[in-house]
């Protein structure tokens, strides 16, 4: 039976490659160094690259100086049904919104306060994410028929994921239906930057629950 829908982009990079395939190198600086600077292993690597085949570059890998892995992760989490174009445009509109709001505040503020106002949307984004990351998480452990919420340490990846997930769900669900996503997101990010807002509250609630369930901490065996 013929498929009625064909994807516009066919993926080229598979996860199963022959072990002889090498990873692509995107950073320009590494190619601009003269031969004398390189150590023995690096010279061997360069010679290998001339001979061995190279894997296809993933779509998220970019040689642009403006690319940021955190921002791309966030964009991917915001994406729905593979519409990366829309997700990326929403992200850029969010960053622009943050910048505009902060610049307006900056120009209206008196001279002594101007240095305290942060106008860089990337700095605000990173700081807001850092403020939203929980330190400790809860996981379900079943002992004797009952399931307990056991406080458990989280890996860095898990913390980053939770922070981004909370921000996105907060914007999608608890806001007025007619507000645009960039508007909602920029508001949430600015609140999180100042350690206010519903996402920070959710993080504190999680911390309190973990503190309350301290007694079950020894149920953890990993």
């Amino acid at each position: 039976r013929l498929r009625a829908w064909l994807p516009r982009i066919m993926p080229v990079r598979w996860s199963r490659y022959d072990p002889s395939y090498l990873e692509p190198e995107v950073k320009k600086e590494l190619y601009q160094r003269p031969l004398e600077e390189l150590t023995e292993e690096e010279r061997e690597q360069m010679e290998l690259k001339a001979v061995r085949p190279i894997k296809a570059a993933p779509p998220t890998l970019s040689s642009s100086v403006f690319s940021d892995p955190m921002i791309s992760k966030f964009t991917n989490m915001m994406m729905k049904s593979g519409n990366k174009v829309l997700a990326r445009s929403l992200m850029s509109q969010t960053l622009e919104n943050i910048k505009r709001k902060q610049l307006e505040k900056y120009h209206k503020a008196p001279e002594n306060e101007k240095e305290t106002i942060e106008c860089n949307p990337y700095v605000i984004f990173h700081q807001a994410l850092k403020n939203c990351q929980p330190i400790i998480g809860l996981s379900n452990v079943t002992r004797g028929g009952k399931t307990y919420q056991v406080p458990v340490p989280l890996t860095d990846n898990r913390k980053r994921f939770l922070a981004m997930k909370w921000l996105i769900t907060e914007c999608r669900e608890n806001k007025h239906r007619r507000t645009m996503m960039p508007e909602k997101l920029s508001q949430e990010l600015l609140l999180a930057f100042n350690n206010e807002g519903p996402v920070i509250k959710r993080k504190h609630v999680l911390h309190k629950m973990a503190e309350a369930n301290r007694a079950y901490a020894h149920f953890r065996w990993w």
């Binding site: 642009s64 100086v65 403006f66 850029s92 509109q93 622009e96 910048k99 860089n120 949307p121």
Partner: protein, 381 residues
């Protein structure tokens, strides 16, 4: 803030002279600014530089007509800076040297998407309003041929259709931009608005405009009257008339409007379009007609079309022929430098890498020196 103000006001002619009277760290900032805020005095020396329009003047001269992104930029930076570019200087030179006893010359500004056609038009409109001309600025003719909620049958001519909302919005903005001249120009005929209301002969045109605003049903007819009066009186020489129409290709294309029996409406059947077409004919003297083509809002035209031949179609080209075509290219290297420097100075480019040479080269490559692409790219950075 204070230093920049002093630096720009002391050097009143030329950015170069401001360089000599300043300290070393200020030099890269002032080169792409110019303190000459009167478009009449702009010459090739000012090419690639940005001049400031005071905010009160912006509200008075441009109640409508500036692109949306530019209005947002004015609000964020708290100032309106327009770049002086070659096509605008060319147009201004033609306007300064034109003979107003001859029929009005038509200028058509064309170019690819996002190269600055509307901004060139706004530059010319600013010049004319500074010189005291009466400016008939239609911000976007596409708004008159699509997305119209109310279409009334015209009382003046049974075949035509009125658009009260668009006409009243335009009349309101027209009034704000030309207060003084509307008071002085008098009507030459008596006009009847329905059975009881009428405007006598010799009343100022301002009353016609107010009549159109008060009685929204007859707003399109008021617009028609205003255009007819201005056309008849411009050859006397008491005032100069500038007809500035953005996206003029809308007047000769197709519309997306439908009548109540679902039959498509052609542009001639709309009063506003019909009267505007009469205005764009070169059978009057004492002014100029400056128009812009635009593919962005156009209906039923491919996105790669940008030349007058493609966008106007045969009908439009024959109606506007002969005209002076003015192409608007992308930014030259110098203009790109000055735009980039302006964004840096106003702290619009916040990303650390955007301040480096690599970042600048990347911006130039990605945008292809296209003004709109550069603006869109620099937004999130």
């Amino acid at each position: 803030q204070l230093d920049r103000g002093c630096a720009l006001h002391t050097a009143h002619r030329d950015g170069l002279s401001s360089v000599s009277s300043q300290d070393v760290p200020e030099r890269p900032r002032a080169v792409f600014h110019t303190s000459e805020s009167d478009p009449a005095k702009h010459t090739e020396q000012h090419e690639g530089r940005l001049y400031n329009i005071p905010l009160e003047e912006v509200n008075a001269v441009f109640p409508h007509g500036l692109p949306h992104r530019f209005q947002q930029q004015i609000q964020t930076f708290n100032e309106a800076r327009v770049m002086v570019r070659k096509p605008a200087l060319e147009l201004l030179a033609y306007l300064k040297g034109s003979n107003f006893t001859h029929p009005a010359v038509r200028y058509v500004i064309y170019g690819e998407r996002g190269t600055g056609k509307t901004m060139t038009l706004c530059h010319v409109v600013h010049y004319c309003s500074r010189q005291g001309w009466l400016v008939l600025h239609i911000p976007d003719a596409h708004l008159w041929v699509k997305n119209c909620k109310e279409l009334l049958q015209s009382s003046y001519n049974k075949d035509r259709l009125d658009q009260p909302l668009q006409a009243s919005v335009w009349l309101k903005n027209f009034k704000t931009s030309n207060e003084r001249l509307l008071q002085e120009i008098k009507t030459q005929k008596k006009y009847m608005w329905g059975k009881r209301e009428s405007t006598e002969e010799g009343r100022p045109l301002r009353e016609v405009v107010e009549q159109g605003l008060a009685r929204v049903r007859s707003a399109s007819d008021a617009v028609g009257v205003v255009l007819k009066e201005l056309k008849q009186q411009s050859h006397r020489g008491s005032f100069r008339l500038l007809v500035a129409v953005d996206s003029v290709n809308a007047l000769w294309g197709r519309t997306t409007l439908r009548k109540e029996d679902k039959s498509p409406v052609s542009p001639e059947e709309l009063t506003l379009v019909h009267n505007l077409r009469k205005m764009l004919k070169n059978d009057w003297s004492g002014g100029a007609i400056v128009t812009t083509l635009s593919q962005t809002g156009s209906l039923f035209k491919p996105s790669s079309a940008y030349t007058p031949q493609e966008l106007l179609g045969r009908e439009g080209f024959d109606a506007l022929d002969p005209f002076v075509p003015i192409p608007v290219p992308n930014y030259s290297a110098r203009e790109f430098e000055s735009c980039y420097g302006y964004y840096l100075e106003r702290k619009w480019l916040q990303h650390e890498k955007a301040h480096t040479e690599d970042g600048k080269a990347e911006l130039q490559f990605l945008s292809g020196s296209n003004p709109r692409q550069l603006d869109r790219l620099a937004g999130p950075l």
